[in-house]
């Protein structure tokens, strides 16, 4: 009997002896200063979500101001700018990057490639504690004189460090120090993730048998290791400009009627450094989402992913291209227009591998046995949202169309769709999917359905109208519009509507958090492999997996991760570590 996808070949003996694990001696070293990637993952996730809640509250405050200007005395113009800055920076760096790579990366990479832990658990532990320190420094900036920086999340100089900007003294310096710390901490973790994927896979686990989740996180980590250096350098130089009075980014400038001592620096240089980090950052968030969503779709539609090899190469190509598109964020910066032409071309080329991925997801679903489980709902919502955000990206990627749209609400709507809502939908889907593995219990279905529909529909009710506001020419980052002739009254009404929806969607997230806590105690017992998945993390002896992930023996992988809907198989799927039934056919010798 031939099994579909079961590659018949001899698996070599282990090349590296099984590692000796660090065994925690006390509660503190087991759960606090833990060297176990799974505990570190949960620490990362909890911290990221906690600081993400701060950013969510900041977005409510912004929406209150935009929907009902002049109604709230406690929100002044400078507060508003501080909210914008901190909301953006927290969401992009401290929530999404940390949650996808530090959270899901730590939990899933060792389990999915069949390793006992990350290659250097101690360094991995340091990574989390430095990340926590970075978050604390960031939070500290709320409490210093002048408050946190209000320079906009891109922190463009010269205004970022000029006196008129909120938080121009201590706020901006703390922000930059926090970013530098984040990068140092992330590098420690990132080196671990990359080395683990490259050098610590189990027997039989070739690169082309890895689940796409691992491919996404792996490629994103490589991007991060190469992109964060630019931000690090930018942060160091701006700190020096601010603290020591150097002129890396500061040109000769008059501020509040006074000629400053700065002279001859290049503000555009910061933009280049920032976006050399900033654009890959989009894919640092998007690629893990791509990978995770591929796996969710495949598992919950009981069908192998369509075009696995193409999916892998698309991830790699998107990753590579993301390093040559950064200046499409800078069309209106005064950069040479011929540069704009180059960057518009490379930007549009990225649409090709991205479209391959979307087609392959769709073709995976074609005539598949789709189970509308919660992870599947979130995965489908992601595809729709991502296509939506991708299409508005075509507008903004073209120089002539971008120029009138830049710095309008259209840009805000675009990037919230494509790198806000879309990855967060995947995060929710992933939590609903892997929660049974992490806790041994299922999340409540009814609460989950409520959470999904409110979040999904709510996100569209919030962000679709914002596209329209952008077309009207409503500028982004404005504290209030006042009475401007080109903005009709209806736009204000729309803003009120958006604010109300945003508050409702925000509050609905409490249902999710309640669900997470409630299900931990009262949820339905999940048992082994509730989703009937093939990947190794579901094949562990214990659920949740114990210290060292697998039992006495590491699993041996005989096949790819997508043997779903296999005809003739006992349970319609074959786990990766299931040996082929017949003895390997040896070539005639």
């Amino acid at each position: 009997m031939a099994e579909v996808g079961a590659e018949i070949e001899r698996i070599g003996p282990a090349e590296v002896e099984d590692v000796e694990l660090y065994h925690a001696k006390s509660w503190i070293t087991k759960y606090v200063f833990s060297q176990d990637a799974k505990v570190i993952a949960i620490q990362y996730s909890a911290t990221a979500i906690a600081i993400g809640m701060v950013a969510l509250v900041l977005s409510w405050l912004m929406r209150l101001q935009l929907g009902f200007p002049e109604s709230f005395d406690f929100i002044e113009a400078q507060d508003y700018y501080q909210f914008i800055t901190m909301h953006g920076m927290i969401m992009v760096v401290y929530l999404l990057t940390a949650l996808f790579l530090g959270g899901f990366g730590n939990y899933l990479i060792p389990l999915m490639v069949g390793a006992r832990d990350m290659v250097f658990p101690y360094v991995n532990m340091l990574s989390y504690w430095i990340y926590l320190l970075a978050v604390l420094v960031l939070v500290a900036s709320f409490f210093v004189p002048g408050g946190p920086t209000g320079a906009g999340w891109t922190l463009y100089p010269p205004q970022a460090i000029l006196t008129g900007t909120p938080g121009a003294g201590a706020g901006i310096v703390l922000m930059l120090v926090s970013l530098a710390l984040f990068i140092i901490g992330f590098t420690m973790g990132g080196l671990n993730y990359v080395t683990t994927v490259l050098q610590a896979r189990t027997r039989g686990m070739t690169l082309m048998r890895m689940p796409l989740t691992v491919w996404g996180i792996f490629t994103a980590t490589v991007l991060a290791l190469l992109a964060f250096p630019a931000l690090f350098v930018g942060a160091v130089m701006m700190t020096l400009d601010s603290v020591l009075g150097t002129s890396f980014f500061m040109p000769t400038i008059v501020s509040q009627g006074e000629l400053l001592k700065h002279d001859g620096g290049s503000p555009i240089l910061f933009q280049h450094l920032f976006w050399f980090f900033g654009h890959p950052e989009v894919y640092i968030v998007a690629l893990p989402a791509f990978g995770i969503v591929s796996d969710l779709i495949s598992v919950h539609a009981r069908r192998h992913i369509f075009g696995y090899r193409m999916m892998v190469w698309a991830i790699v190509i998107i990753g590579a291209l993301s390093f040559v598109v950064w200046a499409h964020h800078m069309y209106v910066s005064g950069m040479n227009p011929y540069f704009g032409f180059f960057f518009a071309t490379t930007t549009l080329i990225i649409a090709v591998p991205t479209a391959i991925k979307v087609y392959n997801w769709t073709l995976t679903l074609w005539r598949a046995n789709i189970n509308f489980t919660l992870p599947m709902l979130f995965a489908l919502a992601f595809i729709v949202t991502f296509v939506n955000g991708g299409i508005t990206g075509l507008f903004l990627g073209n120089v002539v169309v971008d120029v009138p749209l830049s710095d309008t609400m259209f840009v805000v709507a675009h990037f919230h769709m494509v790198m806000g809502v879309a990855p967060i939908l995947v995060i929710f889907g992933a939590i609903y999917h892997w929660y049974p593995l992490m806790t041994g219990r299922m999340l409540n279905e009814a609460m989950g359905q409520f959470h999904f529909w409110v979040t999904f529909l709510g996100a569209y009710m919030i962000f679709l109208p914002i596209h329209y506001l952008g077309f009207l020419g409503v500028p982004r980052r404005y504290f209030e519009m006042g009475t401007t002739s080109f903005i009709p009254e209806s736009a204000h009404t729309l803003n009120e509507f958006i604010t109300v929806v945003a508050l409702i969607v925000g509050v609905a997230q409490l249902v999710f958090f309640y669900n997470v806590v409630w299900s931990m105690i009262k949820g339905k017992k999940a048992g082994h492999n509730p989703w009937k998945a093939t990947t190794l993390e579901w094949q562990t002896e214990e659920v949740p997996p114990g210290h060292g992930n697998f039992g006495r023996e590491l699993p041996v992988v005989y096949r790819w991760a997508y043997d779903y809907g296999v005809p003739g198989a006992e349970d319609d799927f074959v786990p990766q570590n299931h040996p082929p039934k017949r003895a390997p056919a040896r070539a005639a010798e």
């Binding site: 090349e15 250097f120 490259l198 690169l207 190469l226 350098v233 001859g264 620096g265």
Partner: protein
Amino acid sequence: MAETTLTHTEGTAATRPDGLEGFVSDWSSDQRTFKNVPWGKAMMWIFLLSDTFIFSCFLLSYMTVRMSTTVPWPNASEVFALSFGGEPIPLILIAIMTFILITSSGTMVLAVNYGYRKDRFKTAIFLLITALFGATFVGMQAFEWTKLIVEEGVRPWGNPMGAAQFGSSFFMITGFHGFHVSVGVLFLILIARKVWRGDFDIEKKGFFTSRKGRYEIVETLGLYWHFVDLVWVFIFAFFYLW
């Protein structure tokens, strides 16, 4: 050195194809992509790649501000000259520093070589010599900084010779490099101590990792040290010779 056999924990060594075929077979194999490369060494290479981007960004930023400023750039061969008997010799100090650092790479190579022969005594000695050269380099850098700050009046925010970016770039880039050298010196001393004590002969567990200590770490440290040297060559070329 090309490794053409594969070490397994059990059984006999398997042979691997050479050249491009070997490359393809490594990347399509299970367990390890870089065969016979220990985890620490692989991780160091990846770190160095990331660090390369940091130094590249620093150097590119330096070039950009050098072009963006309208004030003339100070003449490096005059600023970095030392007078001996009333006669200024351009770049003499930096020439000696560069020579010392490159020499230290040579002694590092010897240390790695003796490490692989498990020659405890010689490995430790050459590691310490390397550390000594490194410390000398940092010491001379401190002398150079002191001279620039105290005698020439160069400050990060300005200097009497020309563009303010000269001082700021100089202190930032050489400072960041000097920090790398200093960290390297500390680790050289640390590893030399472990070699001397014979930790790697008995595979004593490391303090950090609880993993077995092996002589491989000497080579891993060597990679870092050579990288720091290589970066210096670029800093030397772009900052002092341009």
